[in-house]
Symmetry: C2
Subunit: 339 residues, 2 copies
C-alpha cells in the first residue's frame, strides 16, 4: 500500500501503453524531471509486447500488461486504452500499487480524485489507489479558468476547442500525415480515425456522438471541469473541433465571472498562476507550445456582449495535457507522503 | 442613373479585381446564374491590367481600373482592395453606375445598404449608388442567425470562427500551399500574409489588431451583424481564427434567444430558410461546402449552460461569402426595378 516510508527511495514504476503517443512522451518526461525511477517496467497490450523502448539511454523490452506484472510495483501510469485501464487498474491497486490513469475510465467515479496538481492537489489525500488525469482538453481549460475563479468566481464559460490530431493517438497523427501525402499526390483521402478527412479541413467531431447531440469529448470537458474546480453546477458548455495540427490543442474561451474583474486583475491572476504563461493580447499558437509544459494564454480582452473576458489558450496535449500532468500527480503524491 | 427601364435589357457589367480570388469566382457565378451580362469589362489595378480573363468561353483583356472606365457601365462589382473601392466607387456612381462593393470600405456608412438578399433586400430600396456586400465571415453567421431571430428573437451570440486561407485572397492560399510544400521538404516556413505560420497550425489572428485587443475581422463580425439584422445593440462577440484550410469558413456559434425556442422549432426555422441547408445534429465541414452556395448548418443542440443553442455553420467564403452574395444583390436590384 501507499506508505510514506517509500518517499525517500527510488520507485518501481510501470507504464502501461509505453509504446503509444502519450506513453513515449511520458518516458521522456519521467527522465527530464528526474522522477525517482529505480526500475522501469514498460507494459503494453499483447499486440505491442516484445517491442523495445528507450529510457534514460537504456533499451528495455516491453512486456504484456497482465495482472501479475504489477507485483512489487509502486506506481503505474496507464497511458493506454480505456479497456486496459478498466480491467487492470484494480489489479494493480490490489497488489499495492498507486495507479495514475490517463484514460477516461475512472475520471467521474466519485471515489477517484481527478487532479491537476496546480489546482486541486489536496484531492489526492483521499485517494483509494486510482487517481485520474483529466482529458487533454480539460487540462488546458481549467489551467486558464482556475486563476480567474480564484480572483472573481466563475459564472459561465463558453468554449470552442481546436484540437490536434495526436489527441487521437499515433493513429490520428499518422492519418493526418497520410492524408497530406495523398493530397500532394492527388490521391483520394482515407478516413478511419476521424469523422471526415482532416487534412485541409476542420471537423467538429472529437470522439463519439451521444444521443443528445454532444460528443463524448464535449461532455468530458463540462463534467471534468466541474469536478476539478469543485463547482458541480458550473455553467460550462463546449464545442470540440479537430483541426489539421499534429500537436497542440487550442481553445477559444469566453468567461463570465461572478464578481467584476478588471483586465489588469485578470492579467495579474493569470501571470502569477504556476504553469500559465501569459501572452496578454498577443496570440500564442499550437506551434509555439509544442514541447513545452506551460499553458500559454493570450488574446485577453473584454467581450463585446457583456462584462466577460475572451481568452485563447494553447497547450501541448501530449505533455501538460497528458504525460507531464500525470508525472506531476506522481510528484505531488510523493510530496504529500503518499508514495 | 439606375432606372427601371434597364430591367429588361442586358447590362454592361464591370468587375474591378477580375483577376483576384473573389473576382475569378464572381465571373463564374455571373455565367452560372445567367445574369444578364450584355458586355463584360474586367478591370484591375495597374499591376494586373493587360492580363486576360475567361468569361462564358471568351477571352477578354483586363483594363486598368480608372474613373473613365466606368462611362456607360450599368453595374460595377468591386472585388479588389479597399483602396480601389474608396477612390473609384464614387467615380463609378458619378457616371451613373450602381456599385456592389465587396470591400469593407463602405459597409458601416449609414448611407450604404449592407445586404444579404435572403435577409434584408428592402434595404436596397434606399441605396444612393453604392451597396456593400458583408464580410465573408458575417454572411455565414447572419444566414444562421436570421431564421432564429425570426422564430424567437436574439438575446446573445458568441462566435468562434475557423477561417480559410483564401479569406486573405490568392496570396493567402499561395502562402498556405508554399508552407505545406516547405514542410514536406523539411524547409523553413515563410509567413508574410498570416501572423504566424498557418500550415499545421491554428492562428487566432484575422486581419490587423485594434488598440482594444480585437482584430478588425472580429469587429466587422459584430458591427456588420448588428447592421444587417437591424439590431444595433445586439450582444454579439467573436474570436476569429485562421486555420489551414484552402476554402470554406466554419463557425462555432452559441445563440441565446429572447423567447424560449424548442429544438424542433429551431430545426423548422433553419430548414425552411432559403439558402440554408440543415444538417441537424450532423457535422458539415469546410470541404463539404466548397463550390456550393448554401450555408450548411449542423451540430444543433441545446447548450449545457443555459437555454441557448449550439450550432456549427460552414460556407464557401468565395461563393456565398463573397461572389454569389454580390451577384444575388445585383439580381435583387433587378427584381426591385433598381437596375
Amino acid at each position: 500500500m501507499a506508505t510514506s516510508d517509500r518517499a525517500n527511495r527510488d520507485l518501481r514504476v510501470a507504464v502501461v501503453g509505453a509504446t503509444g503517443a502519450v506513453g513515449e512522451v511520458l518516458l521522456n518526461v519521467l527522465a527530464e524531471r528526474k522522477f525517482p525511477v529505480g526500475s522501469l517496467l514498460p507494459l503494453a497490450s499483447e499486440r505491442s509486447a516484445g517491442s523495445r523502448i528507450q529510457f534514460r539511454g537504456e533499451s528495455i523490452a516491453v512486456e504484456e500488461a497482465r495482472p501479475d506484472a504489477f507485483e512489487q510495483v509502486d506506481v503505474v501510469f496507464f497511458a493506454a486504452t480505456g479497456g486496459l485501464s478498466k480491467s487492470l487498474a484494480p489489479e494493480a491497486v490490489r497488489r499495492g500499487a498507486v495507479v495514475i490513469d490517463k484514460s477516461s475510465t475512472w475520471r467521474m467515479d466519485p471515489r477517484v480524485p481527478l487532479v491537476v496538481p496546480e489546482i486541486n492537489p489536496a484531492a489526492l489525500d483521499k485517494h483509494e489507489g486510482i487517481i485520474s488525469c483529466p482529458n487533454c482538453t480539460t487540462i488546458g481549460a481549467v489551467m486558464t479558468l482556475e486563476p480567474l475563479r480564484r480572483a472573481a468566481g466563475l459564472e459561465e464559460v463558453v468554449i470552442t476547442t481546436l484540437q490536434a490530431a495526436s489527441g487521437a493517438g499515433v493513429a490520428g497523427t499518422s492519418e493526418l500525415e497520410a492524408q497530406e501525402q495523398a493530397l500532394q499526390k492527388g490521391e483520394a483521402l482515407k478516413s478511419d480515425v476521424f469523422a471526415s478527412p482532416l487534412a485541409r479541413n476542420a471537423v467538429p467531431v472529437c470522439d463519439a456522438f451521444r444521443e443528445d447531440g454532444y460528443t463524448l469529448e464535449e461532455r468530458k470537458l463540462t463534467d471534468e471541469t466541474r469536478k476539478i474546480l469543485g463547482l458541480p453546477s458550473l455553467a460550462v458548455t463546449a464545442t470540440c473541433v479537430r483541426v489539421p495540427v499534429p500537436v497542440g490543442h487550442s481553445a477559444s474561451i469566453l468567461v463570465r465571472t461572478e464578481r467584476p474583474l478588471l483586465l489588469d486583475e485578470a492579467r495579474t491572476a493569470l501571470a502569477n498562476f504556476p504553469g500559465v504563461e501569459l501572452y496578454d493580447t498577443e496570440a500564442p499558437t499550437a506551434q509555439d507550445v509544442v514541447g513545452r509544459d506551460e499553458v500559454l494564454v493570450g488574446r485577453l480582452r473584454r467581450d463585446l456582449a457583456s462584462e466577460g473576458l475572451w481568452l485563447w489558450e494553447v497547450s501541448d496535449n501530449l505533455r501538460k495535457g497528458a504525460a507531464t500532468n500525470a508525472v506531476q500527480i506522481a510528484e505531488a503524491l510523493g510530496e504529500r507522503g503518499l508514495l
